[in-house]
Symmetry: none
Subunit: 306 residues, 2 copies
């Protein structure tokens, strides 16, 4: 039985060989890996001191000093004495330095593209998402708000994926049977069948190109709209994503001049209920039902907009 650790070591050896870091000339250029890392670091921070570089790349200052001297001679960087500290210099990439780095970046991209060209789109997707997963697991993995993107154009696969999320999340969290998913499928079918870009909309929150949350507005008769499929992957709750989705949905209703928005939910959806109330929705109906393998209250909430 191979342990996780030995498998990781095996991957490390594999990936080291694959990264091809161990030849001195980085990408057949005249620069060594260290030199390119220095250039890259300067480029990343736009402006930096030698001291900072030695800290980040853990290089000897004497060694770095000489490399920078050469960079200066070769016109790759510019250096101006710092105002705040007259011992130090502010280092920037010159136009030529930027050009060089761009060329190297292009070469590196080309090399990667050559390596993955034989993969089809799902394989590429698998590769990238595996890498992302490793990165997430190995860092403290805090989802940042700015890493979430929002959209409301429907792409192939979106609706299916949202149905999947409903089935999966409600199945695991509320123990709903697969009948619930069937119900979701039915409602989505009607949504798509009667979809009008002017009166209907579905919003998706994405992280890493995967949908992690959604909400929708579906028009009804007589200037009324229904808010539907408000769902958030449990791992992404408490980040303000739900609030953003709900706000966008209600704003849309106002903009489209609906006079009333209502939603149907269950008494089990604590987190969502709180948010509905916070947004101004009022309970207008509650009825005990037995459905999808559970007993609960089916509740209706309304928000008057006029």
């Amino acid at each position: 039985m191979k342990t996780a650790t030995s498998k990781i070591r095996s991957f490390n050896r594999f990936y080291t060989a694959h990264l091809d870091l161990l030849n001195q000339h980085y990408l057949e250029s005249n620069y060594s890996l260290t030199e390119v890392r220095i250039l890259y670091e300067i480029s990343e921070s736009k402006i930096i001191t030698a001291q900072k570089i030695t800290e980040i790349l853990k290089l000897d200052k004497g060694y770095l000093s000489r490399i920078l001297k050469r960079f200066l001679k070769e016109n790759l960087i510019t250096r101006i004495s710092s105002e705040e500290d007259k011992r130090a210099f502010n280092i920037k990439l010159s136009d030529y330095g930027n050009e060089l780095l761009n060329t190297l970046n292009a070469k590196s991209e080309k090399k990667i593209e050559d390596k993955i060209e034989k993969l089809n789109f799902t394989e590429k997707e698998m590769l990238v998402s595996s890498m992302q997963k490793i990165k997430n697991l190995m860092t403290e993995n805090k989802i940042e708000r700015h890493e979430i993107s929002y959209r409301h154009t429907i792409n192939p696969g979106d609706i299916g994926y949202i149905i999947y999320l409903h089935g999966y999340i409600y199945g695991n969290e509320s123990n709903f049977s697969t009948d619930f998913e069937k119900y979701v499928i039915k409602t989505f079918y009607h949504f798509l069948e009667n979809y009008s870009p002017e009166k209907d909309r579905i919003w998706m929150a994405e992280y890493n190109n995967k949908i992690v949350g959604c909400i929708a507005i579906q028009h009804q008769l007589q200037n009324e709209a229904q808010l539907r499929w408000f769902l958030l992957d449990p791992a992404f709750r408490g980040l303000g994503i739900g609030k953003k989705l709900l706000t966008d949905a209600v704003d849309f209703c106002r903009e489209k001049k609906f006079e009333n928005v209502f939603l149907l939910t269950t008494s089990l959806q604590n987190k969502a209920l709180e948010m509905y109330k916070l947004a101004g929705f009022k309970l207008t109906k509650s009825e005990e039902v037995q459905e999808w393998g559970k007993v609960f209250n089916e509740e209706r909430y309304d928000l008057k907009l006029k």
Copy 2:
């Protein structure tokens, strides 16, 4: 929009830093990374010539010669003149060399364990399986047949995920619009609405707990059955998964005494068409249609079972 390539580069930078390969003394030992790589290579192949090492590690033979000379002096390796080729030597690790390598391995494992100690069991699983996936995708190593599992019990999320796969794969491969997904949703709704465990079944092929292929049999009037939703993730084609699914589905029809199975497909589905024909299906109808943003022939295939 970030491309796959830029995400891979980002991962490479992340993983390079994480591997910590760039300090000269490997794991604070008195040996450099190159020296350890040489020792490791000797250990891996049990017995090896210097020539072979230069090929594997792409080292200069003069450089290697000197390192080996030092290894010999330090009693890390033993060397005996080769019987077959009197120019060459067979190199082996000495007991002391093995001991050193074991110490280094232990250190390396300790370091990895420290890094993953905060992960729980399933997270470690995910980490290792992600690494394995990357390794598989980046080498010619195809997915092994035994890594695929099959089932036909429907769990929450399954149907949604299958709808997603249809939308996503047909969207990318055949450029079908989202209307196609709507159509799939409709057909699945009817399937679930009329589902009878005795006369209907859906099979799923899974890799890494993700559905990668499916097929279903849906009963019709008068002892007839329809074969539906035959789909395989492109990354998993050519492994016999499709054949297995198709065979299982047809076997089920025989078992349940259906007299005829038919299926509807498009002229665009080359791979699937081949398989249908191979399984004995005959083309019984073909009609040009314009749907889902494309023009193609809608085709019906039948397989008589009686």
